[in-house]
């Protein structure tokens, strides 16, 4: 079938919803989402949303901007960080106005708590900047915005998965999508496509991300020739539940939780003397891996402890109830009495589709791709630089989701309907047919496990030329084997077997982009830490990586970093 809407937004997480609310009413907008909208992964966000409200102690947007830049190890484009920090209070007040039940201070203002890397007075001490609703901030924001979307009657197509973008003469003309319930392939004809498809943590074996986070929304434009930016910067969150990867929010440390090694030592005192357990995530994850590698894990094993025992039952129940409950359920441990085994888990992708501050997607020569927009975790505004600070993503989603929506409204008059090319769904149908008809080969689930293991082993917290080269050669051989991927289920309805196989193409392509970008960056910066190049090297590497597919090859090139207020300095905490 062919559906027609002026604007189609792919992804109904917070970025997509926030943009849709801005566009709705003036033009015909539809959301498509591979999962039912309120199941989107934004709902999993726990800890909070950052804004220098100064409700608990003095704070300023300049400190917030500085922390964002320093947290990103100076790879952050500073004009973007400035927009984020200055617009943050408005964004949070707006959420409050819409009904988000933020916790409150004794005098009734929005309560705030400490979070990693957020400091007062340019790094002097931790500051309370994260606004929160217990440990459920993302879910209550999602529900609030989704109900607003219902109120506005925004059309939603649930369980539809984008398979291709359609271009005509360099302008977006729509997209091709697969309907899970029927197996039908549909065409969406539109003047604007906005990508808000979130992260792709499923490239790794141990991850806090959900199952849908397989990255087609980033891979599809990449396959179509649009470059990707800063892909080597992958955030590993320090506190994933050992063995499962499920996240224990940084709020646990924001509320006073402490990391301890095998001998019970509070080891972060050695790595970040000023802000200790509240250092940025890349540093804490490296510290944990170092403790483990040097034999100071718990019982010499590959995990350390998160200690919440001193917080008391009441605080745990009031501020960290969800994570307390799932530690009890999954580990059978009572955090009020026992220590929690944790290890770093792949959490967030700093890299993605290059965009400007109004959500325009940028092509290989920095030109705006007409009709194509992106926001949220799938995009790369160069806001989070080489390492994102906690609570800056939720903020990013509502600030830049809104800006993108506004910009789409402004641009529409200049974006005429493009005629659809003939049979735009044919390439997608061909891919599906080939997979369904193949009789012998390997299962996607098997290849995917191999890929995830390789990435977790060779391209995670610490990297080295040798491991990266190995990773790359394994990825390429898996790509070859992918040419013979088979499925057992040839049915049409809810064929997850087929989806697994289709999604694997994206995972492989993105894993390759991450690894090639990591191999090329011969320095250590933020989340990208090379054993063979342990120092940050501003002279040669203060620049953004771009990687682009050109006739089967990949091309790597660079673009400068925007520096406005803060000159790069050594990054200590």
């Amino acid at each position: 079938m062919v559906f027609k809407h002026d604007v189609v937004i792919v992804g109904a997480g917070l970025a997509g919803l926030r943009a849709a609310l801005e566009v709705a009413g003036n033009v015909d907008v539809a959301l498509i989402s591979k999962v039912y909208p309120t199941r989107s992964h934004s709902g999993a966000a726990q800890g909070g949303i950052a804004a220098a409200l100064g409700n608990e102690e003095p704070d300023s947007w300049e400190w917030h901007m500085y922390d964002t830049v320093k947290g990103g190890d100076y790879l952050t484009d500073q004009h973007v960080a400035e927009i984020l920090a200055t617009d943050a209070p408005r964004a949070v007040y707006e959420l409050e106005h819409l009904g988000v039940p933020f916790n409150r201070t004794p005098d009734g203002k929005i309560a705030q708590r400490a979070f990693g890397g957020h400091t007062r007075d340019f790094g002097k001490a931790p500051v309370k900047r994260a606004c929160y609703a217990a440990d459920r901030t993302g879910r209550v924001m999602m529900d609030t915005l989704y109900f607003q979307a219902e109120r506005k009657g925004i059309k939603v197509y649930p369980e539809l998965q984008m398979l291709d973008l359609i271009f005509k003469d360099g302008q977006v003309a729509g997209l091709v999508a697969y309907e899970l319930a029927t197996g039908d392939v549909h065409v969406f004809h539109s003047r604007v496509v906005m990508l808000a498809t979130g992260g792709y943590g499923k490239v790794y074996k141990t991850t806090s991300n959900a199952f849908a986070n397989t990255g087609e929304g980033v891979y599809i434009p990449y396959r179509a020739g649009i470059p990707l930016e800063d892909m080597e910067f992958v955030q590993f969150h320090p506190t994933g539940i050992y063995g499962m990867g499920v996240l224990l929010s940084e709020a646990a440390r924001g509320e006073g939780g402490i990391l301890r090694n095998g001998s019970g030592e509070r080891f972060m005192e050695r790595y970040a003397p000023t802000i200790k357990d509240l250092a940025p995530r890349d540093m804490v994850s490296r510290a944990i891996r170092t403790e483990i590698l040097e034999g100071r894990g718990i019982g010499g094993k590959d995990y350390v402890h998160l200690d919440l025992t001193h917080l008391g039952e009441q605080k745990l129940a009031e501020r960290l109830s969800d994570i307390t409950s799932f530690v009890k359920i999954y580990l059978g441990i009572d955090p009020a009495k026992e220590l929690i085994p944790i290890q770093p888990t792949c959490h967030y992708m700093m890299g993605g589709i290059p965009c400007n501050v109004d959500g325009h997607v940028l092509g290989g020569s920095q030109e705006v791709v007409p009709g194509l927009y992106a926001a949220g975790e799938c995009s790369c505004l160069s806001l989070h630089g080489a390492n994102r600070l906690g609570c800056n993503s939720l903020l990013d989603l509502v600030v830049f989701g809104r800006r993108t929506g506004l910009q789409i409204g402004r641009d529409l008059a200049g974006l005429p309907w493009q005629e659809l090319p003939r049979n735009p769904e044919r390439p997608a149908l061909e891919r599906i047919r080939k997979i369904k008809e193949r009789k012998a080969g390997e299962k996607a689930a098997h290849l995917r496990s191999r890929l995830q293991e390789t990435m977790t082993l060779r391209c995670s917290v610490f990297r080295h030329e040798e491991t990266l080269v190995q990773a790359l050669s394994e990825i390429r051989s898996l790509e070859e084997r992918y040419g013979k991927v088979v499925i057992d289920n040839r049915g049409a309805r809810f064929n997850t077997d087929l989806l697994d196989a289709l999604e694997l193409e994206a995972l492989l392509g993105l894993a390759e982009a991450i690894t090639v970008s990591a191999l090329n960056r011969k320095e250590s910066r933020g989340a990208h830490s090379r054993d063979d190049y342990p120092e940050r090297n501003d002279e040669e590497w203060l620049k953004h990586t771009l990687i682009q597919k050109t006739d089967g090859e990949v091309r790597v090139f660079y673009k400068p970093v925007h520096i406005t207020r803060f000159q790069p300095k050594p990054r200590t905490y």
Binding site: G43, E96, P101, F147, V246, I487, N489, R493, F494, T496
Partner: protein, 249 residues
Amino acid sequence: MGRSLKFNIFRYNPEDPASVPHMETFHLEETDAMTLFIALNRIREEQDPSLQFDFMCRAGICGSCAMLINGRPDLACHTKTKGLPEEITLLPLPVFKLIGDLSVDTGTWFRAMNEKVQSWVHTDKVFDPQAPEERMENQLAEEIYELERCVECGCCVAACGKANMRPEFMGAVAFNRIARFMMDPRDQRTGDQYFEVVGNEEGIFGCLGLLGCEDVCPKDIPLQDQLGLLRRKMGWQSVRHLFSKLLPE
């Protein structure tokens, strides 16, 4: 070695005229820290790729994976096999439209419910980007949050005697939503307006008081309290309605 688990799983494809509802048996060796969600994925990967069930976050927050587990509605992702007998029977949630096997469509039901109760703050105040937030007692904010913790998994609806008999019955989840907005000073709806939504047989007066809802809520939301509260408030409201009809100004 782990226990050998026997799964009896409901199979049916309502779209296929040749399909008949039946139970199918699968065997799996129990592993350490196995959840039902891990077990189901293994069955799908190793034994039957056509098995349908829903899952997403595997951390009890997205609400996708509710099903009847040995007769009781719960989330598959946070149910450990360790706490279950060797024989485990899995059925899809009742009330909701069956998509296939263990998968049901909760989304359409919830969207309709939320539209009915108009799950958003009704206010004529226009957002002023220059102004700071409106003040609120933390106690009240926490009470609102407590009711906002619903993940729309559908367990309470599935456990509701009334909803099983009369699908148009709104169920505890709707009353919980209403109670949440009634409590919120930002919402300017009047008692009468709420009454119009829930003061009827499809709503609060249709509840049989069996209280299956609260027993099964995987998030332990105090649904019973909300029911009691709403009934009392709405009871008064209905008396007032009656009087205003009997004694027009």
